[in-house]
């Protein structure tokens, strides 16, 4: 049984997911433009779903994907994110990492979405992992923090990325979230109070990831790769190290630690996804996309069409032609879970 307001969105491609995110988070980015980038990192067919049940001042969402994906967005001044994984009691291995905080059952992370000095956030969501995401409004949260005198919570939100905590407040927060998705709650205050208590409550063996040079390096790397100059050959490793002011070896270690692949493979994944998104562009006629498919690949740095086709098929389990043919069909399946229940 699902909550009254819950809706499930199912995507077969990440372009639709990006536009879904844009529509859903605008409210939390009132003073800045929201944009995000999503890339499939593992190989295989993709099905992604998001069950979304927003209430006043809180955006609540459960996200799941059949493939490992990399999500990136700009940090902002207006909202705070709390994300955790729900393994439903099973001890499964997940390679989910939120901006450098490696997620285990006790983890709550994503605080760096609030960043007053610039920056961006990146998440790797492991295949078949259920990721619970809660976005709260910073202004409301700050008022409550001031009232409660919860400066520990304040400090953690501004200076940390995530924590591992077994505090009773964090357990209550997670179960309240679950209750919302089964029964449907209408008030967001309890989410705010429990989120603050989770951060404020001391915990015996709290593990936390602080924002530091090390975490900023990966943030900057992800941003750089997404901003990489379209139409130009991909950045070389020495260009990247120069730009990020780091050594080749430490960059390579950091990349393997976080993305479990060499940096060149990460660049390739991001660029492949960019080509796929251009094939899916709903504003370009199918005929034109067919006519320019090779130029499109070349534009993102793939010089050899045959090799590109091989990579493309290995990653997405479909050929560029199949993607172009699919692009005219509606790719988001929306189900109103309440409607389905009442039928």
């Amino acid at each position: 049984m699902k909550a009254r307001k819950a809706k499930e969105f199912v995507f077969n491609d990440l372009l639709s997911m990006e536009s879904y995110c844009k529509n859903h988070y605008t409210d939390y980015y009132s003073k800045s433009n929201f944009s995000c980038n999503v890339t499939q990192l593992s190989k295989g067919e993709l099905v992604t779903s998001s069950i979304c049940a927003p209430i006043n001042d809180a955006h609540l969402e459960i996200f799941k994907s059949s493939q490992t994906i990399l999500y990136e967005e700009e940090a902002n001044h207006n909202s705070v994110a709390f994300c955790w994984i729900n393994s439903n009691g099973e001890q499964t291995q997940t390679n989910t990492i939120i901006s450098g905080h490696r997620m285990v059952d006790l983890s709550i992370a994503g605080f760096n979405r609030l960043n007053k000095t610039g920056g961006n956030i990146w998440d790797i969501v492991g295949a078949n992992t259920q990721l619970c995401c809660m976005s709260l409004k910073w202004e409301k949260m700050k008022k409550k923090i001031d009232q409660m005198n919860a400066y520990n919570a304040f400090a953690k939100l501004e200076e940390c990325i995530g924590i591992d905590s077994n505090s009773s407040a964090s357990i209550q927060l997670k179960s309240l979230f679950e209750r919302h998705f089964t029964k449907g709650l209408s008030e967001s205050d309890a989410f705010y109070d429990l989120a603050i208590a989770t951060l404020e409550e001391p915990c015996d063996q709290e593990i936390l990831t602080e924002r530091s040079d090390k975490t900023e390096l990966i943030e900057d790397l992800v941003k750089l790769l997404y901003e990489d100059r379209e139409g130009m050959p991909p950045l070389t490793i020495s260009e990247i190290t120069k730009y990020l002011n780091t050594g080749k070896e430490s960059l390579s270690i950091a990349c393997r630690e976080n993305f479990n692949m060499p940096i060149l493979d990460l660049i390739k994944s991001i660029r492949l996804e960019q080509v796929k998104k251009s094939y899916l562009n709903p504003h370009v006629p199918k005929g034109l996309k067919n006519f320019t498919k090779k130029q499109n690949a070349l534009y993102y740095g793939f010089k050899n069409w045959t090799t590109f086709q091989k990579f493309y098929y290995q990653t997405f389990q479909e050929s560029p032609d199949e993607t172009i043919n699919k692009s005219t069909k509606a790719s988001v399946l929306v189900t109103d879970l309440f409607m389905r229940r009442s039928q």
């Binding site: 000095t117 400090a155 200076e159 940390c160 900023e216 900057d220 750089l224 002011n245």
Partner: protein, 318 residues
């Protein structure tokens, strides 16, 4: 000497203050452009300076070897919150602050003032002041000056001092002795505030925070919150509370803002022949702890409304 200087850049304020022997680093705590005005006058044994700004400013490095730098504010509007903090002392309409400059070594003092007031500094010669205080046997005043950070003056003396300063800033200082007399009267008759628990500890902590944030040797590799807590031997909650209360932002945000401000000062101070755009901006960014130039430029633009390269272009014009 010019009567009043209007600036479009707060860095020019510190340049003018430098002429008065105050090597002050000024950080603008809120984003965006501002307008700044400063008037100052000097005479034997005294210097006066009044600063108005449309942005809240943090001054660090205040204090000379020869003077006690008394401070007061003149409100532009009504405000429930304090108009500023002179070394942590809450500055209200009738407050006189800056006493600690008699104890500290030069350049060790700090202040933060809001945009809802102008702040005035009256620098008097330490030795002359102490001599006068002793001569007229003003024991209360000596006690206040050496032990308090500031006083609330609920009588005519401060009012007269403000009036005289306003007049003299326009026409020039005619009789320095008057200032000494009025300050002695203020020190003798002012009221100490009631004892508040933890205030002395806050004063100490605030001074250390300001000092650490301006420590040039630490700017190239920025500290994390736990580094700062460890260094200042304090908990993160109390550190955060103090920073929020006094500076309106978290400690790391403040330290970042100060580093940005210092990077900007470096860019603006470069001589024409030292400029090599791409290299200079990158090197300066790195030396102030901003490793990724793209991120540095974005932050810089958000704070100052111009790109680092534009500041570099301006540097000759300052």
């Amino acid at each position: 000497m010019k009567l009043e200087l209007a600036y479009s850049d707060h860095i020019q304020l510190s340049e003018s203050l430098n002429e008065l022997g105050q090597t002050t680093r000024i950080t603008q705590l809120e984003k965006g452009e501002g307008k700044y005005m400063m008037s100052f006058k000097q005479s034997a044994g005294i210097a006066l300076a009044e600063i108005q700004s449309t942005q809240p400013l943090l001054y660090e490095g205040w204090g000379t070897s020869w003077s006690v730098d008394f401070n007061w504010i003149t409100p532009k509007c009504k405000l429930n919150d304090p108009f500023g903090y002179c070394e942590g002392y809450e500055m209200k309409e009738d407050s006189l602050g800056g006493f600690n400059t008699i104890n500290t070594s030069p350049g060790n003092s700090w202040g933060k003032y809001s945009n809802s007031c102008s702040s005035t500094a009256c620098m008097l010669d330490k030795r002359i002041l102490m001599k006068i205080l002793k001569e007229c046997n003003a024991t209360q005043a000596i006690d206040n000056l050496s032990k308090a950070r500031g006083l609330d003056i609920n009588n005519e003396s401060l009012h007269q001092l403000k009036k005289l300063t306003r007049k003299d800033l326009a026409r020039g200082i005619i009789n320095p002795t008057k200032y000494y007399d009025l300050i002695v009267a203020c020190l003798e008759s002012g009221e100490k505030r009631d004892y508040k628990k933890g205030l002395t500890k806050n004063y100490r902590l605030l001074g250390e925070i300001v000092q650490l944030s301006h420590d040039s040797s630490r700017m190239s590799s920025p500290m994390t919150l736990s580094d700062v807590c460890q260094y200042l031997d304090t908990g993160q909650a109390s550190l955060y509370r103090v920073c929020q209360d006094y500076f309106g932002m978290g400690i790391i945000e403040m330290m970042t803002q100060i580093r940005l401000e210092e990077a900007r000062r470096s860019l603006l101070m470069l001589k024409q022949n030292e400029k090599n755009h791409a290299l200079t901006v990158r090197d300066i960014a790195i030396s102030y702890g901003f490793k990724h130039q793209g991120r540095f430029s974005r932050r810089y633009f958000t704070s100052f409304g111009e790109l680092p390269s534009q500041s570099l272009d301006k540097s000759k014009g300052l």
